[in-house]
């Protein structure tokens, strides 16, 4: 067994879980939902094992480092974070329907990591600039935040679907949670994500300062993470002080996640900067 096999199995596991969650939603099949949760949990355990094994393998190769150092590894960790975040949400709100709007993100992350062109899956040694514990703290904090924002945007979509067909009391729509509840979970999720994104930007700044002597250099990646931060800060203000709820917050949750995606991929592929290591 090696780590890439475990990661491959995890990709399939999340695909299966996504199909089951969506099936459970469409056909209102409770049992499918229960199985989906089981598959998700099991896949999560396998993925955790896969990440751990990859870490171990890097030591066997003689230059051990935490598996958080390039695009591939960060995508895998992103999926991992989405799933653990979702599982906690499922436990807390006792609602499986959310899975149909969260677990597919984990599958997309894994599938993209595995199949997209130009993503190197090899375990490679770290260049000097990346040898820092602040980098590990930076990646972990950022991606926990991104995972929360991914789920928030999924819930935003859920909210918009539900609210655009309010009269409809049958089938798919009726099985979604009440609007008020979705709205509340979106809000809490954004708060959680905002806290982690703030920590992510700060640890990133500390890392930059210890490596290059500049905690902020307005490089495109930094700037985009700040833009994302502004979008969510604006969202929180709109809610706290102007009482925005519902559709407007749902749209902002989606807009915020688009900004996250751009920070993550767009900057690597479309713009140049210090973080360009991420594109290999």
């Amino acid at each position: 067994m090696n780590s890439s096999q475990l990661l491959g199995i995890s990709t399939l596991g999340f695909l299966l879980a996504s199909v089951l969650y969506i099936g459970a939603l469409i056909f209102r099949a409770r049992i499918a939902g229960v199985i989906a949760s089981g598959v998700t949990l099991l896949t999560f355990i396998i993925l955790t094992g896969g990440i751990g094994l990859r870490w171990y393998e890097s030591y066997q190769l003689g230059f051990g480092h935490a598996p958080l150092s390039n695009m591939y590894e960060s995508l895998v960790f992103f999926s991992w974070s989405i799933v653990i975040f979702y599982l906690i949400l499922e436990l807390k709100f006792k609602n499986r329907i959310l899975g149909a709007f969260a677990v597919p993100f984990a599958f997309i992350g894994m599938a993209y990591a595995s199949f997209a062109k130009g993503i190197n899956q090899e375990i490679v040694p770290l260049i000097p600039a990346l040898q820092s514990n602040w980098l590990i703290a930076h990646v972990i904090t950022c991606f926990i935040g991104y995972a929360a924002f991914a789920v928030a945007s999924g819930l935003g979509v859920m909210y918009l679907i539900k609210s655009s067909s309010q009269g409809n009391r049958t089938g798919l729509i009726a099985s979604l949670p009440k609007l008020r509840i979705i709205d509340d979970i979106i809000h809490k999720t954004i708060i959680f994500g905002f806290l982690w994104l703030s920590a992510g930007i700060i640890t990133g700044a500390i890392w930059a300062n210890s490596a290059w002597g500049t905690y902020w250099s307005w490089d495109p990646k930094e700037t985009w993470s700040l833009i994302t931060w502004f979008v969510y800060a604006a969202t929180l203000h709109a809610r706290f002080t102007r009482g925005w709820t519902g559709k407007r917050i749902a749209w902002l949750a989606i807009l915020g996640f688009i900004s996250v995606i751009f920070t993550y991929f767009g900057v690597n592929f479309l713009l140049a900067g210090l973080h360009s290591y991420g594109s290999s």
Binding site: S210, A211, P220, W224, A234, H237, R242
Partner: protein, 441 residues
Amino acid sequence: MKKKKNPFIAFFSSVKLTLFVLFMLAFFSIIGTVIPQNKPAEFYIETYGNSMANIFQALDIPDMYSSWWFSALMILLSINMVVCIMERFPNAWRLITMDNLQTKLSRLEKMGQRRVFSSLSPPGETAVKLGDILKKKGWPTTEQRLDDSVLLFAQKGRWSRLGVYIFHLSILIVFVGAMVGSFWGYKAGVRIPETTSIDTVYRFGDNKAIKLDFKVLCKHFKLTYYENGAPREFRSELAIIKDGKEVAAKSIVVNDPLTYGGLTFYQSSYEPYGKMLVRISNNNTGNSKEFLIRPGEEIPWPQEGISFGIINKKSTAAPGHFDYKIWFKDKKSDPATFWMEEDSTKSFERPEAKYTITMKEFFATGLQVTKDPGVWLVYAGCISMILSLIVAFFMSHRRIWIHVRKAEKGSHILISGLSNKNRVGFADSFASLAEKIKKEF
């Protein structure tokens, strides 16, 4: 009654302005990520054409994050924040410090969380019992005895109301730290050949020479590689020399700089010279001398009557690391040749004397030098930001009042509660408290 606000304050304290400025900052920041920053003027002309390049220059786009209008947006945000804090803080402070026992009884009857019970005992006795129950549940009470009734009050987390103010203040502290850094700090670079020292660094941008009041010595530089040929580590052994004495020393690598006298020295680059640094000592005379030689060169040391050179090299198991073949001649005997490892020391006996030779590839280390007196403010602001954000998001000010008044038989109990946030969670703990009280009465 709302007082009419000063229009200046009304404008600057509005959260509408905040939303506007945040979206503007987000929007304009994007421009700076799409149009490359701080390139030479020709770059913009080539890429965007003459007229566009002129417009860009007029609007400071090539260096937009330090342009007057970007700074203006930041200042607007800061003023917005300061005015907003000043506007709202007094009310928050009043809520934190006020005497809640003065709360009007009519308000208690309208609060979000309310329960009513009755007790057979008179109000005084009932209040004592209720006070005990609350205390056990972690809500120590204060009380006020009125004519024929008692008001109990307990609260938790009142200071959490400060969280959101401290958070906004922290952002300002970070701004101030950044400004301190940009006014009183600088970034510079310097190159130090091994075994030499410098006392002047060159500021980035204008290349101005800045003289330090100490010297920085590079004792040793080492570059190592991974098997795949990628660089593994750049390491410089640095020392700070002040008045001829070594006052600090550190071995620095890319993520671990040396800080001395308000300056921080970062490993940023290196320069090979294609030369070897060789130190030869004659152990008998105690003389010792350093030479820079190119492979193939013959170098004499007339005082000692020797000459030597490097005549061959071969790779070793360590990537990027070589063994060198030394040719060595003194007055009396035939020349000797032997292999020695790069960056190592070797002693050998000759009929004339015993010699020790140290040899390594010669480099200059490239350092970035940063002076930033504001960085501690920035870090302090960041830490306080995270802590206060946790307080602002996850803690709430919860208050419970119990009014016990005389009824026909015994007393009538009204429990009311308020929370400034997380109303659902508070409703739960309020319900469990009410349940407990119900059991006791």
